[in-house]
């Protein structure tokens, strides 16, 4: 044993020697346990009653039996979660119901068959639920098996388990006793997808019959996402978000190039909420081929949206547009929709920047550049941030590849001297690329004495930023 370890043991023993438990600890524990249990039982009774009522008036149509399904195929989707596996005979249209689990509210799909039922519940919880420990703390029921990992399942019974695949989202799979052996495969077949977010915007309305065609991708003018009516793609909608100087105003947005040589005809001025917008027909040069309809508007200077729909969906354009909203993490403080830890408090200042095909927003805490130590969180979006070395447009600091807070990215380091003439400060900015068209940057500038703490702060912040 090293000298340090030995001294540490003695210090820990000394430090805790005077501690004693409160005389009424057992009473307090028992009282609170009983109170929580009663509350839980009352809530469970309410949930059971709701389920009975929902089951008494089924909203689903006749079930269509189907054969064993291959995992990987998407059989159904609920609130951004895809169901990839269902037992044989459970492939028909599900019933969609509202569900509760203690204080959590969500939606569920419920399949019924001759052999029993399968229910998949999705609970969007916000910051109140971050991992399995939070789930356990809700005391939703007698727990048969506790999770080992933060994302591991809380097993209530052999036919009912719940887990937190990512902060803010809980999933629950419940089956009839006859399908006990299938629960694991159903749970493993669930996939969390974000097929309605694109370039920092969320598409809350998509016409019925359309399904997401792949993930958000780089388009000619911005970051885009498409929905089509299936394999023949005769109908479809593409929502494209344009960042940077190209989206400074409606005129500049109209100049953003098209995938081929289409042009906008019959343009008329409309509105999307309070924003002025343009709507027109898209056709090849000379109007020889009809390419559908487009609606475009500027959400704020530097961020524009273009919605391009096939002609049969022209009547849905306005409704789709009205349903496009800026994405924001469920957090007290956000930077361009990215949630920052509540402990940071209110920012002390902010800044924004824009370039060709990129825009960025920065918030500062503790001070500002040139005013001593500070922390900053920056969010950069657009096509250009996909280009290697893009960060040279925002910083001339020395870059190197690094892993910070278990995330791989680029670390920039530099020295800066505050305006008051105090000693030089060490600056560290870590940039990473969590999804297409998005780069996050955390900056910590600290004095030489705080170097170790600055490294910890940088890692903590990287780890705790929330991309919705």
């Amino acid at each position: 044993m090293s000298e340090l370890e030995s001294v540490l043991r003695r210090a820990m023993a000394d430090d805790t020697a005077g501690l004693a438990i409160a005389p009424d600890l057992v009473d307090r524990v028992v009282r609170r346990s009983v109170r929580r249990r009663r509350t839980r039982l009352r809530l469970l009774a309410v949930v059971a009653a709701v389920l009975v009522v929902a089951g008494a008036v089924p909203a689903y149509v006749a079930l269509v039996p189907r054969h064993q399904v291959t995992a990987g195929e998407t059989l159904a989707e609920i609130d951004g979660v895809e169901v990839g596996y269902l037992p044989e005979g459970f492939g028909g249209p599900p019933e969609r119901i509202r569900v509760k689990a203690g204080p959590l509210a969500g939606e569920a799909l419920r399949w019924k068959g001759d052999g029993g039922f399968v229910q998949v519940g999705v609970y969007r919880t916000g910051r109140s639920l971050e991992d399995a420990l939070d789930l356990l703390a809700l005391n939703l029921g007698p727990v048969a098996s506790e999770p080992v990992k933060r994302t591991g399942p809380v097993v209530f019974t052999a036919t009912d388990e719940m887990w937190v695949p990512e902060p803010g989202l809980a999933l629950r799979v419940t089956t009839s006793a006859s399908l006990e052996s299938e629960l694991g495969r159903i749970a493993e077949g669930l996939r969390v997808v974000r097929n309605r977010d694109v370039g920092g915007m969320r598409v809350t309305y998509v016409p019925s019959g359309l399904r997401a065609a792949g993930k958000a991708r780089i388009n000619l003018g911005g970051i885009a996402r498409s929905w089509t009516n299936g394999t023949n793609d005769t109908q479809g909608v593409t929502v494209e978000v344009v960042h940077g100087r190209e989206a400074l105003d409606l005129d500049s947005l109209r100049q953003v190039p098209w995938p081929t040589n289409e042009e906008l005809f019959d343009v008329r001025r409309v509105s999307v909420g309070p924003a002025a917008a343009l709507q027109g027909s898209v056709a090849s040069a000379g109007r020889r081929v009809d390419r559908g309809r487009m609606l475009l508007w500027v959400v704020r200077p530097g961020v524009g949206v273009r919605i391009w729909a096939t002609t049969p969906l022209a009547g849905e354009l306005r409704r789709i547009a009205e349903g496009v909203e800026e994405v924001a993490a469920d957090a007290a403080v956000t930077v361009d929709g990215i949630g920052v830890p509540a402990s940071l408090g209110e920012p002390s200042g902010g800044d924004s920047a824009m370039g060709r095909e990129w825009s960025g927003i920065t918030r500062f805490w503790g001070g500002r550049p040139g005013e001593g130590p500070y922390v900053a969180v920056s969010v950069y979006r657009g096509l250009e941030v996909e280009v290697d070395g893009w960060f040279r447009q925002i910083s001339s600091a020395t870059p190197r590849g690094a892993s910070v807070g278990d995330v791989n990215g680029t670390l920039l380091t530099w020295k800066e001297r505050p305006r008051d003439g105090a000693g030089p400060l060490a600056g560290r900015t870590f940039l990473w690329h969590p999804e297409v068209g998005l780069v996050l940057a955390v900056t910590v500038v600290a004095g030489p004495d705080d170097s170790a703490r600055a490294v910890d702060d940088l890692a903590d912040l990287v780890r705790n930023l929330r991309v919705p």
């Binding site: 003695r10 805790t16 501690l19 057992v26 524990v29 007698p142 922390v375 903590d460 912040l461």
Partner: protein
Amino acid sequence: MRPPDGFAEFVAARGRSLLRTAHLTCGPSDDAEDVLQAALERACRNWHRVHKDADPEPYVRRIIVNLAISRARRRALLRIIPTHTPPETPAPAADVELRQVLMDGLRALPPRQRAVVVLRFWEDMTEAQTAKVLGCSVGTVKSQTAKALVRLRRLLGAEVIDDVRA
């Protein structure tokens, strides 16, 4: 509202030891009693199960350590930003007792590293036992322990270590 059979006896016998673990793993916060109470509540609710086949103490300790890490992470305190009010306790002076310096160093560790140090050197757990409590690999325990000790040495400074050896 009677406690389940054996629960009060367990708290009487092991409560202080568990509180010491909570105090050490909670770091700079005053959460130790809350964390202990929360862990005991969970044990109380599941007492018939945790008490039936095995010693409940490892179960309660595991909850304490994980709750302490979870709470500390949630705070995500930013240590470099100067606060507008001075800290309640003055910074350790040169002649402060070594114990205080060491404990300040321990509390300054990231929550998971602090938990590893407490489990390894206070609870005398093996690396495998520590890994099981924290739900991680033995390799992670080894690396976290090494990092924690390096950081403690660095935080304490060569001068203090020299004093220890003297």
